[in-house]
């Protein structure tokens, strides 16, 4: 630029068409082109905004719908465990008492609620016996029964029982059940709502953190208030362990061979093309493979974490292999040359020098592969993980053969049930799932930041 200003005469002056007006005033073509430029840029910003709004909206709805699953309403009233109901023989023998059905305890609860209403002078017009019975969760009488069987000394006494309210009462406090919806719903009535309001005022209804949601197994269709993700989390944990134990060593071994030892020939090409194609095979096809190969052919049990783990292993292998190869490739050849130069064998070079240097990259890729596997649903549906499982699998290794569920499958399972109370559970399970995924990804980012080396 300085040259230009100093010797203007040296440059031959071009002779453009005479231009009307000043350069400072844009002509029509320039205005048009500038507008096109601004429009183009706006499209880009718009696209990014749409993507971000979609993300925020998605997360917002999940959290809005799911937050309720972590709160639960409990009825807290005194219950008289009259001896002639729970212990008809009168000998306080738990074996004898176990013969008393859960239903009898339900009647005790109903009576307790009626007594409570009398004691607190709560009167609700048109409150029927069915309304009182429907006030409690089906789980409540079972809980009371277990409490008595565990401690027979309670028989004949009055205890302060805190038991689950039914999902409709619970829904009332979460805004899911209103007077209008209660009028349309056969399972609830406006009298129940009035009773719930009165009880809340007197402190007989408490809403607190729902730790049962984290630890309970799944519950049947008509008691959503008792359903939890305990079995699903354990099943997912088992599967992740299997994936980690199988996919990490196999994936690393395969990558080492392909990256460091494989000769350039057709067989190697075939393996490489295979791996990149496997990475793009729809996950449901892996489910079909699991069903045909592991369950029908090898005779492994359905719904078992071992089958799920094997299927997810095959699915995550390509991801792990691809990222491990990238990590191995990033180790500079000078490291290998130096090791070979001082007399190490090729195997020693790889295992003593290249692999440790590539480890952070390998671990990052493995964690991301595990996170993918943790969120995968479709293949697990085909191998029967969607079955209703209400008992915990035992400890590994036997537990790997026991039926279990998985977190994403539990989400699907609840999403397909009729009762809207299950939607809340479903979103709650998603929140737990997303928290796990977030932690895994943060760990991956941390490992990458902390240990990654640039040569």
């Amino acid at each position: 630029m300085t040259d230009l200003t100093q010797t203007p005469a040296a440059i031959p002056t071009p002779t453009p068409a005479p231009r009307k007006g000043s350069l400072m005033v844009a002509d029509k073509a320039t205005i048009r082109r500038n507008r096109a430029e601004a429009r183009f840029k706006a499209y880009g910003i718009g696209a990014i905004c749409i993507a971000l709004i979609a993300l925020v909206f998605l997360l917002f709805t999940v959290i809005r719908d799911g937050a309720g699953a972590f709160q639960q309403t409990y009825v807290s009233i005194p219950v008289t465990l009259s001896a002639d109901v729970v212990d008809p023989k009168g000998n306080r023998d738990p074996a004898e008492m176990a013969k008393v059905l859960t239903m009898s305890y339900g009647k005790l609860m109903d009576a307790a609620l009626t007594d409570w209403m009398a004691a607190n002078a709560v009167q609700i017009e048109g409150l029927s016996q069915a309304d009182i019975k429907g006030f409690f969760s089906g789980q409540a009488s079972a809980e009371l029964r277990n409490m008595v069987l565990a401690d027979p000394a309670l028989v004949g006494q009055q205890v302060d029982a805190t038991v689950l309210a039914s999902s409709r009462v619970d829904g009332m406090f979460k805004g899911r059940v209103t007077d209008e919806s209660a009028a349309r719903d056969a399972k609830t009535s406006s009298q129940q709502i009035a009773l719930a309001r009165a009880m809340e005022e007197k402190g007989a209804l408490v809403t607190r953190f729902n730790s049962d949601f984290i630890t309970n197994p799944d519950a049947s269709d008509n008691r959503p208030e008792a359903a939890g993700i305990g079995v699903a989390m354990l099943g997912s944990l088992y599967m992740m362990l299997i994936v980690l134990v199988l996919a990490l060593p196999i994936g690393v071994a395969a990558s080492i061979y392909l990256e460091e030892f494989a000769p350039k020939n057709r067989w190697t090409d075939l393996i490489e093309v295979n791996i990149s194609n496997l990475a793009a095979v729809p996950s449901i096809v892996f489910g079909i493979l699991g069903l045909a190969a592991f369950i029908n052919f090898m005779g492994l049990p359905r719904s078992a974490p071992i089958v799920g783990g094997l299927v997810l292993t095959l699915m995550t292998l390509p991801t792990i292999i691809i990222s491990t190869r990238a990590a191995l490739k990033a180790v500079p050849p000078s490291i290998r040359d130096a090791a070979l130069g001082v007399g190490a064998s090729r195997m020693q070079t790889v295992f003593h020098h290249v692999l440790p240097l590539a480890m952070p990259g390998i671990l990052t890729g493995t964690i991301i592969g595990l996170a993918q596997a943790l969120g995968e649903t479709a293949p697990l549906l085909l191998i029967g993980m969607v079955a209703f499982v209400s008992t915990y699998p035992s400890a590994p290794p036997e537990g790997l053969m026991d039926p279990a569920s998985a977190l994403p499958v539990q989400v699907y399972n609840w999403a397909t049930r009729a009762d809207p109370a299950f939607f809340e559970r479903s979103s709650g399970a998603i929140i737990v799932l997303l928290i796990f995924l977030l932690c895994m990804n943060l760990l991956a980012i941390f490992l990458r930041r902390k240990f990654e080396r640039r040569w």
């Binding site: 840029k41 990014i48 729809p282 096809v285 079909i288 493979l289 649903t377 998603i430 997303l434």
Partner: protein
Amino acid sequence: MPIFWTVLIVLALGALGFVLGQRRALASAGDDHRKLHSRPIYYGWHVALVTAVPALLALICWLLIDNESALRLAPATLVIAVAGMGFALAHISRAFRARNAVEQVIRGLLILSSTIAILTTIGIVLSLVFESISFFRLYPWQSFFFGLEWTPAFQGNSSLGVLPLLWGTLYISLIALLVAVPIGLFAAIYMSEYAAPRIRGLVKPAIEILAGIPTIVYGLFALVTVGPLLRDWIAQPTGLGEGASSVMTAGLVMGIMLIPFVSSLSDDIINAVPQSLRDGSLGLGSTHSETITKVVLPAALPGIVGAILLAASRAIGETMIVVLGAGAMAQISGNPFEAMTTITTRIVSQLTGDNDFASPETLVAFALGLTLFVLTLGLNVLALYIVRKYREQYE
């Protein structure tokens, strides 16, 4: 569980062999490890590997037959392990090349691991093809590939035509691509050509969060939020549809899912276009947007087409969003606010619950799986071919 114990005992024998091998090697050299061919640890590894590997391979073979024979043959497994240890220990001498032997075994294990990818593909193809063949024995292939009706009935006599499912699959994928491609592409262009590094550093990871969210979450989003929203605001006022599950619901949500996929692939491809092309175009006086539309995008076009094909293959194989968002009506219709069904949805519904692997209603799922596999594999191979060809141009 005795099998588990067998494995543990074999591993313990291996560990014992490791110790004994080192001791014996050192003893053979008169406790002077310089006289050994390899470092003592390799003698240990040699014995451990010869002890454990054949025994475990035998155990796997027996497990493949069935559980009972693995139990019955557990003592035989242990005998193999002990025999292996004895054989290896007898072999140890000062001149024995333990390192070479161990490295040979490790190399074999590495090769074995790398063939698992091929075994998986073979497994997929075999399981799909064999069950599909038994399906086509029970059901004529003409009616499957050209049938316009999908009405499975478990008492038999069902029509199992794939065309309505294929139509639903392609329609939903088309809508998903119509959403994802413009948004993903413009986002990628903005991020690679306009955005300041700081904004790029914030926005790129945020969009990639969308890729990390499991598809079941999108499925529930479609079912609980997007479906009712579309029904109440568009479908019912215009009288186009009554249900919350529709092609539009599934397509829209799937489009959102594919945005990061398209944008990150396009981003890589746009960044691979040499800077000299941009400089030349800008130097001739074109604006930034003219440079992008007239120079950068044409240069990146093959790569972008490849990315779109990969996204299409993703959309066709996607399961959870359509299972929860698209409905279950098998029909061929042009109205995007009607419920339709897809190949993946039908695979799930035919294979969950109690299966009778002799009825065409269950086996059809394998034929559907084969169709899906061939479809997505074809798209992937085409996309990879295009992308690879494009890469060669600039390297």
